[in-house]
């Protein structure tokens, strides 16, 4: 799809919703260097959301959607949970079907798009919570990685089941007292980043969403690597401020506190050898392009 596809017939322009008009006028489909800095200057691909006030997940959504390298040809797959409250307001095609089957849906989807559009780029990005990714859907999460399916899996890790009211999840910290963990969780937080690496992911990052520039970088890397090489995995801490007893304005600080080098969300990264080569290639191309642009600008001057 190109931006042409979302154009409105002149006769119908005035009856289209204003958010759609904005999408046509100033969204960033097709913009090559799109990124988090577009937020505020252009129409975002998320309209509104019905998450709690101050929810870090809403920040994460905005950064990710601003950073997708190719939203005009990207299809997202969600799952049941807080994310499913947001997806209806997202301006890329997205699928919700069942709880936990997101990586299975994405496997079939990616293959169908490859059969139907040979030689064209169609990115698939999964975005689901930790219950969907690690508990009910773990089998399908891992099997998609074993099969080297070419799509990106993003997990919003809020360390519990938020949408159903704060129950224990596999990514919850040991000892945390929650619903369904009345005496505290009895086992450790599941080490999915390590499992992802061992399961064949070519790019694995664990971080918080406190820094938009970092999210832009890792989302872009993850999508580019999954497009060319194989599965990639991002685990992003998006604390559920409601369930950990914080106020609306405290989400950012919670993330900053949890990403310190000694804390459980210290930046963690794994890049396979072929992925390293690809990233180096992309960086070299980027450098070349910038140099050419600089030269062109100098000539013009």
């Amino acid at each position: 799809m190109s931006k042409e596809r979302i154009k409105i017939s002149e006769d119908l322009y005035d009856i289209m919703p204003s958010d759609y008009q904005d999408l046509v006028k100033s969204a960033t489909y097709g913009k090559e260097d799109r990124g988090w800095k577009d937020i505020g200057n252009s129409k975002e691909l998320i309209e509104q959301h019905s998450l709690c006030a101050g929810c870090p997940e809403s920040m994460a959504f905005r950064y990710i959607l601003a950073s997708l390298p190719n939203p005009e040809d990207t299809v997202m797959v969600g799952s049941t949970g807080c994310t499913s409250l947001v997806f209806p307001m997202v301006a890329v095609h997205n699928i919700h079907s069942l709880f936990g089957n997101q990586n299975a849906i994405a496997s079939g989807l990616k293959r169908a798009l490859s059969v139907r559009f040979p030689g064209r780029t169609k990115d698939v990005v999964v975005l689901a919570g930790d219950g969907a990714t690690v508990d009910i859907g773990l089998d399908m999460t891992l099997q998609a990685w074993f099969r080297q399916e070419k799509f990106t899996t993003i997990c919003f890790d809020n360390e519990l089941y938020a949408n159903t009211g704060g129950q224990e999840s596999g990514l919850m910290q040991k000892g945390f007292v929650a619903k369904m963990a009345p005496v505290g969780k009895l086992f450790d937080k599941v080490r999915l980043p390590e499992i992802a690496r061992e399961s064949g992911c070519h790019y694995v990052v664990q971080c918080t969403v406190s820094k938009p520039s970092l999210i832009e970088k890792v989302v872009r890397n993850a999508v580019m690597i999954s497009r060319e090489i194989g599965p990639t995995y991002l685990q992003l801490y998006t604390p559920c401020i409601l369930e950990i007893g914080k106020n609306s304005m405290e989400g950012l600080q919670e993330m900053r506190d949890s990403e310190k080098p000694t804390e459980r969300f210290a930046y963690k990264e794994f890049i396979s050898e072929p992925a390293k080569e690809l990233l180096a290639e992309l960086a070299a191309k980027d450098k070349e392009k910038k140099a050419a642009a600089k030269q062109l600008a100098a000539q013009g001057a």
Binding site: L85, H93, N101, A104, I105, G108, A112, R116, D139, Q143
Partner: protein, 403 residues
């Protein structure tokens, strides 16, 4: 977006000619071939212009699923892989169908049950996936033998459900099934069921269409819901997500969508009648005694009718081909003169007899049974015995039935 020129008459990469389906199935020459049911599934798929097939091993469909893998290796199928479980496979099928592919899969018994959560989702998402169900036991202790209980669970999913009697039904209905499923006013998944082993693992003469003809490809832009491929505008689908809302608009939306799915099942009726030549087939329905059934129980019924004829007893037959849409009106008409309606079934609960009873006046005419289950065969003699008992005639006691 949707292509405006026809592909009919052009060739695919295997040299097959995209052919008008009606012409291919009703007018093109047929070649009699001696095949197992599994091989027949493969031959149908060779001609189906299928984009994605996803497989998982479970008896008795494993052979068919593996044979379709051979078709993929030969280049007849766009993509093919083995999923990790039936639940995952049916979700992978959904993903492929959301992405605009013509999708095929096969399953059986416990696999059908494991995947069950997917089926109302397929129907609700209006995905015209075709799933072959080679029915087998779902009980514990573990059984791999024929048993049709799983069909009962599929009847309320919103899927179309057809029940094949023979391998010939299977061959034709796989191809015709896509034509019904993919109609814009239907656009629903089809569970094409057969009785495992009896159909899949026995050889029969099947008249095949020419191998160099294939179905026109699926056009996802005729779907009543947007195809998830970012080739059309990503409209904002709703003001608020309906999932968590407890209000009238949310309830009304879900209610009307469920009604629409079942209205689509109803709308499939006219297409189904046209393609498979009626939802039922009848023979000698003026007789006082009628056998009404589906699947291979129909074949056993035919044999019983022959045995009864030898004794001068006239008995008619109603073969139910489509269970969803349900041929209530047709059954009512076909059974209006019958005094005794015998419903033999390969399952313990007699779900088909219950459906029939709910559809006709004077339902005490319905005799639910004989039933066999757990993999037992149904000798025509037990149908004969059941009928003679109903008619107040003396009957030989059969082994295993007590006195």
């Amino acid at each position: 977006m949707a292509d405006t020129h026809s592909v009919i008459g052009t060739k695919n990469k295997k040299g097959q000619t995209f052919t008008d389906t009606w012409e291919m199935l009703n007018e093109a020459p047929r070649t009699p071939s001696f095949f197992t049911g599994s091989e027949v599934i493969k031959e149908a798929l060779r001609r189906a212009s299928c984009d994605v097939m996803i497989a998982y091993p479970i008896t008795p469909q494993s052979e068919a699923a593996a044979l379709i893998g051979e078709l993929f290796a030969e280049g007849y199928i766009g993509d093919y892989f083995r999923g990790e479980s039936e639940f995952a496979v049916m979700s992978q099928c959904a993903g492929a169908a959301f992405g605009g592919a013509r999708v095929f899969t096969t399953t059986a018994g416990p696999g059908t049950m494991r995947a069950m959560e997917n089926f109302p989702m397929w129907a609700g998402a209006r995905l015209p996936i075709q799933m072959i169900v080679t029915c087998r036991g779902i009980n514990s202790p573990l059984s791999i033998q024929p048993d049709t209980l799983e069909i009962a669970y599929l009847l309320n999913t919103g899927m179309l459900v057809w029940h094949a009697e023979t391998a010939q039904d299977f061959f034709d209905w796989i191809l015709k099934g896509y034509m019904v499923s993919e109609e814009p006013d239907v656009h629903l998944p089809l569970a094409l069921c057969c009785d495992g082993f009896f159909v899949t693992h026995t050889k029969d003469v099947v008249n095949l269409t020419p191998a160099d003809m294939c179905l026109p490809p699926y056009d996802p832009y005729r779907s009543p819901v947007p195809c998830m491929d970012m080739e059309c505008p990503p409209v904002r689908m709703m003001r608020d997500p309906f999932v968590m809302k407890s209000n009238y608009i949310s309830y009304a939306t879900h209610a009307s969508w469920q009604q629409e799915v079942w209205a689509a099942v109803e709308r499939s009726r006219k297409h189904t009648i046209r393609w498979i030549n009626g939802l039922i087939e009848t023979e000698n329905i003026d007789a006082e005694v009628l056998i009404v059934s589906s699947g291979t129980a129909v074949s056993q019924g035919r044999e019983a009718i022959r045995l009864l004829e030898d004794e001068g007893i006239s008995c008619g037959l109603v073969k139910i081909k489509s269970l969803r849409p349900w041929p209530g009106e047709e059954i009512r008409e076909a059974t209006k003169n019958a005094k005794h309606i015998i419903v033999p079934e390969f399952n313990v609960t007699g779900w088909l007899a219950k459906e029939i009873k709910a559809s006709i006046p004077n339902s005490d005419r319905v005799n639910a049974g004989p039933h066999v289950c757990g993999g037992m065969t149904m000798p025509p003699e037990i149908i004969v015995s059941e009928i003679k008992t109903l008619l107040g005639m003396r009957t030989m006691s059969l082994a295993g039935r007590g006195s």
